[in-house]
Symmetry: C2
Subunit: 345 residues, 2 copies
């Protein structure tokens, strides 16, 4: 085993964009995707970082993604902004729809941003973080592929169905969480399979519905939700709000749509955007201070805010660059070489 | 021990209204409170049913509730309906604000209903159920009193912070869940203390922050959230959205406001109301059908939908009336006798 390869954020971002352009994504499309991959890599969310670039490339090569996707933004109601992603990646569609969604939330106080027909692989926190940087509170929800059994069941129905939330802070980066409603992330199970590690108990069942700690069995069976019936209820809510409510696929449908290609899921996404300044008017400042008292009550007893670890990683990456394990680096170099060939054809 | 006393829903509701009027609530105020108590009793959610009437009466007698509360409805932004509960019970304020909130959601596609300065004791599911009966999807959130430690912490910060959600169905009663983000209910710990029983592991810590199954130690220490850091993150979101976002108290502040009186908490509540017909237009029907495919995939493997048990109880209560244990019935009779005296003064 060699040593990790260190790259600056700029160099890694450029690599990421070259690889994505090399498989045929338009520049704007590649930029949007690279941005969200690099945000994850920078914050040491490894399963959504450069590792996920491999999945993106595979998805593109499977022929399902529209390389020249042109997201279109419409309003289905005064407070609902809808982006048709045109079968491109979600990050590109989000970037296209966000300005109107933010203007709408600022004007009305609350707005929904629905993204349809997008390929989705990214963490949700970069999306709600951007909204919180603009002073909004926001919730983001997506289904995925049906890998997760409902509480009391034995067969997959739900996706990993992440739930993300951000709250704006004046003197600090936003309060953010982003968790899968599954007991663990699909990406983590894949990483453990690659590393030959056992899963913790309570996160998966095998194809017969029995508990398993074998990542291969888990991938053939079903994952479980976190928190028993409560997590299962939340997972159902994510399916409903980011699926039928916005006229897009359930995780069951999205998996069928992929036709066994192991591509990243194609489905919808819902963001709910709330403007504290419209709820509070001239009481905004005192209530942002009130939120700080909540955060202080958590941190003063030595507990961590959900985003702290990520923000610490971010500082390290900005200062020292990112470290890539040799096997991943080799795969990235192969993709880059293929991109160079493609460019010179 | 005598037998349970059986009352028809009508008779129990009338009893409930007489007791509430007897402690001084205006007729409209008493009607709104009785309605939500009877919904819980009917669905065999006993902790929020007639038993909770005792807590309401105690709260009123403590002098904190405004008996003649006149909730006022305003709009702080086009999509935000705000009800000042005027220190009455939340159910009265909700009833007052709901028509405008529903009209707003129907017109704009999504709306927020913020209730401020209310005493809150009810389950949240009757509130989102009413919205779903009108065709809306809805989320409801409230803080409570700070009894729950954050993940990794040792001291109470959060309330039990319930999270409720409803989805409308055409041929069935709505899909609904309503759960505390704490691992167990405060009332259950008190009951186990009286019964001399040990708590299940993982629901509480003692005053030093160590895990405990001793209910007395737990009441001096803190409850834990469900689902570890994910449940803790959700509890924080509930605090932020139903507290600072709407300019109302944190669970820490609400507990301080109660001044040791053991009254039901006074704080705010947030509802987010989404209109599927505005998201979907003429695709509404096919997407309500799509949601049914999700429910079928859950129930066909023998798993239960979160609201099933309640709906079964409802059928029983409508057919056969409700059964009240003798000790509770005696307390209710005392309250009714006091109400008769009050009426004849």
């Amino acid at each position: 085993m060699g040593n990790d390869v260190t790259l600056s954020l700029d160099d890694a971002g450029a690599l990421c964009r070259r690889v994505l352009a090399g498989v045929g994504l338009s520049a704007a499309h590649a930029d949007a995707v690279a941005e969200v991959i690099m945000a994850a890599e920078r914050d040491e969310c490894r399963s959504h970082g450069l590792y996920r670039l491999l999945g993106c490339v595979h998805t593109v090569r499977s022929g399902k993604v529209n390389l020249d996707a042109r997201p279109t933004v419409t309003k289905s109601a005064p407070a609902i902004v809808t982006v048709d992603a045109d079968f491109g990646f979600s990050s590109f569609a989000l970037k296209t729809g966000l300005p109107l969604a933010m203007r709408t939330a600022r004007r009305l106080g609350i707005a929904a941003l629905a993204i349809n027909r997008c390929f989705h692989f990214s963490a949700l926190w970069p999306e709600v973080e951007e909204l919180a940087e603009h002073g909004f509170a926001a919730i983001a929800l997506t289904p995925s592929h049906s890998w997760v059994a409902p509480a009391g069941g034995s067969r997959p129905v739900f996706g990993t169905n992440p739930f993300a939330f951000a709250w704006p802070r004046r003197q600090q980066p936003p309060f953010i969480f982003d968790f899968a409603t599954s007991a663990t992330a699909r990406g983590d199970i894949e990483l453990m399979l690659r590393a030959g590690q056992a899963l913790p108990p309570g996160v998966a069942i095998d194809a017969q519905g029995n508990p398993t700690t074998d990542p291969a069995e888990a991938l053939r069976g079903a994952m479980l939700t976190f928190g028993g019936h409560k997590g299962s209820a939340l997972a159902a809510m994510v399916e409903l709000l980011a699926g039928p409510l916005i006229g897009d696929m359930l995780s069951l449908e999205s998996l069928a749509f992929a036709e066994g290609t192991q591509t990243v899921p194609c489905h919808g996404e819902l963001l709910v955007i709330l403007d504290p300044s419209r709820f509070l008017g001239d009481r905004l400042g005192e209530n942002l201070d009130r939120a700080e008292r909540l955060f202080d009550a958590i941190t003063e007893q030595g507990a961590r805010l959900p985003s702290e670890r990520r923000y610490n990683a971010r500082s390290r990456s900005i200062d020292n660059g990112i470290k890539i394990p040799p096997p991943l680096y080799e795969e990235l170099m192969k993709l880059e070489a293929a991109a160079d060939v493609a460019e010179n054809v």
